[in-house]
């Protein structure tokens, strides 16, 4: 009997939850705010779906009832991707060790 591909995706999903669990517990508490902003940025990989949606209309028509939602979603996700990664970078650049001056 053949296994439904859904089961494979479900396996990836479940295993990723466990990976996430252990990885996130190892994040130092002082970096919890950057953690939130970076998870925000990466969850915007949903832009992949938005691009497919935007390019979904049939030949010639750029803006159809379904692709318009795709275009809107692209903008929203793009705000998040650029905003999320850049603000994370800005924050992380501020974390400095004690200078050994004395």
């Amino acid at each position: 009997m053949e296994i439904d591909p859904f089961i494979f995706r479900l396996s990836i999903f479940i295993l990723s939850i466990f990976v996430g669990y252990y990885v996130v517990w190892s994040v130092t508490p002082s970096l919890h705010t950057p953690l939130m902003s970076v998870t925000n940025a990466i969850s915007s990989v949903i832009i992949v779906g938005a691009i497919i949606a935007a390019l979904s209309s049939n030949d010639g028509v750029v803006f159809s009832s379904s692709s318009i939602y795709g275009f809107l979603a692209i903008s929203l996700a793009a705000v998040n991707i650029f905003g999320g990664f850049l603000v994370t970078q800005r924050m992380l650049a501020m974390y400095k060790k004690k200078k050994k001056d004395k």
């Binding site: 002082s30 953690l35 939130m36 969850s43 915007s44 996700a77 998040n80 004690k98």
Partner: protein
């Protein structure tokens, strides 16, 4: 591009996202981690472009919308003050949620484009996944908008409660399940729109009864939701990168909510059901008499600190409100010049989001190895000469250890009262968020400094 190759590349970007989170285990590796995240995103987007393979006018518009959103995001990222980080994150969550809703709508209208069947005849599994993605996305969106408004102060931070609230919410949640069921059997687009509308409504209703200082839990929870929404869409699109990311973000947000709840010694449901910090909790201080308080000025504070050999600083949300972090660091610099040992103690729920205080201190150039978490530093209070409490309140309240009647009993608190002397910067004697009096105000060794946090800190520096 072949389907297998793109699937592998999506997997690669998923792995890079895992490494991005892994990097955050220490500040040294974190910048590299962020870089991995960016590469992962670039790969995911490029692969999608290449496998779409139709470089027509539509493609140009995709780039235009992408550039527009990207420019806006970059602009916000550079302009936002660090004190506004909780609002920013809440705002960003709402965008992920809404994007998930839009993608689900598009897939529902035009399922052929996603290989999910034809309109009115969408594969059952896809329809379920789509509904989950859309519903969770909608809840994330409206919930985050409310959280944003509360954090921004546009909406009052006070919990909004009414009779039958929990019953109403429960009914709506049940109706979402029923709607999804009927949607799957009828494929009716009307039901799909109703499902989305009802999900928007419940997101709104869930967040309004939750008070301002519980926002760390709310933001983490919405963070988690945005992940589950992404995962739901990932299943619909059969996209590994989305599934992995959704799971990562979902569990990350869940862990953060757990840490925050534990920091308040409250169950997740207690926070989510809301109403905390309203008028109801005042019972414990009904028989309160006027107790004597010692108050001082900047001069007294400077004198105490000058004669100390070690000082522990306890920052809280009030420091963020007063934007006092830079003034604080200047004060600490002066102290250090006098060979006084200074460290910072951060309570897990200080501020309005996880790690909020750490970011503000980092912004003020405080080295991160001088900043300690509750468990790391709590034993040091007994050996320290001065505790300087700036903008924190409930997290220092000894009542949490002594009075089982108190609503915050059992909450882990900083043992500030064990210091030889405590300087407490606060504008008035008013109780904190939990609505209870802080016993620390009336202790023999506490000196209250009634002033704006920033102004007081600057004055102390002048007097040092």
């Amino acid at each position: 591009m072949s389907a297998n190759l793109s699937a592998i590349l999506y997997l690669v970007s998923g792995v890079l996202f895992i490494l991005a989170l892994r990097g955050l285990s220490s500040p040294e590796t974190s910048r590299q981690g962020n870089f991995f995240g960016i590469i992962g995103m670039v790969i995911a987007i490029s692969v999608t472009f290449l496998s779409a393979g139709n470089f027509t006018t539509g493609f140009v518009y995709v780039l235009i919308f992408l550039a527009f959103g990207g420019a806006l995001g970059a602009f916000i990222a550079y302009r936002i003050p660090m004190t506004a980080m909780p609002e920013l994150v809440a705002g960003f969550h709402s965008l992920v949620g809404l994007a998930a809703v839009f993608v689900a709508i598009s897939a529902f209208i035009n399922p052929q484009a996603f290989n999910l069947g034809t309109p009115g005849n969408i594969k059952l599994a896809s329809l379920i996944e789509m509904s989950i993605g859309a519903a969770v996305g909608a809840i994330t969106f409206s919930g985050s908008v409310i959280a944003f408004l509360k954090l921004q102060g546009i909406m009052s931070g006070a919990p909004i409660t009414f009779k039958g609230q929990h019953l109403l919410n429960a009914l709506i949640l049940v109706s979402i399940v029923i709607l999804t069921f009927y949607l799957c059997s009828s494929q009716s687009s009307k039901l799909f729109w109703i499902l989305i509308a009802v999900s928007f409504l419940i997101g709104f209703l869930i967040i309004i009864p939750i008070g301002g200082a519980d926002m760390p839990v709310v933001i983490s929870m919405l963070n988690s939701y945005s992940g589950w929404a992404a995962a739901g869409i990932g299943f619909t699109l059969e996209n590994t990168a989305l599934i992995i990311t959704g799971a990562l973000v979902g569990s990350s947000g869940a862990i953060l909510s757990y840490i925050m709840c534990k920091g308040m010694n409250r169950s997740f449901f207690n926070v989510i059901l809301g109403g905390f910090g309203g008028g109801e909790q005042t019972t414990s201080n009904q028989n309160k008499e006027q107790r004597p308080v010692k108050s001082g000025n900047a001069d007294d504070a400077a004198f105490l600190m000058k004669n100390a050999s070690s000082v522990i600083i306890v920052p809280g949300y009030g420091m963020a409100v007063a934007q006092a972090q830079h003034a604080l660091r200047e004060m600490v610099d002066t102290l250090k010049k006098n060979d006084i040992k200074v460290s910072y103690a951060i309570h897990p729920v200080a501020g309005r989001m996880p790690g909020h205080m750490n970011v503000l201190l980092a912004e003020a150039n405080v080295p991160y190895d001088e900043v300690f978490e509750l468990e790391e530093i709590n034993n040091d209070f007994a050996n320290a000469d001065v505790a300087f409490v700036i903008g924190a309140n409930d997290v220092t309240n000894p009542v949490a250890k002594t009075d089982p009647q108190s609503p915050i009993y059992g909450m882990p608190v900083l043992d500030v009262e064990k210091c030889k002397s405590v300087l407490f910067v606060k504008r008035s004697l008013s109780p904190g968020y939990a609505g209870i009096d802080n016993d620390l105000f009336y202790k023999e060794n506490t000196l209250m400094l009634f002033a704006d946090a920033k102004k007081m800190t600057e004055d102390i520096t002048k007097n040092l």
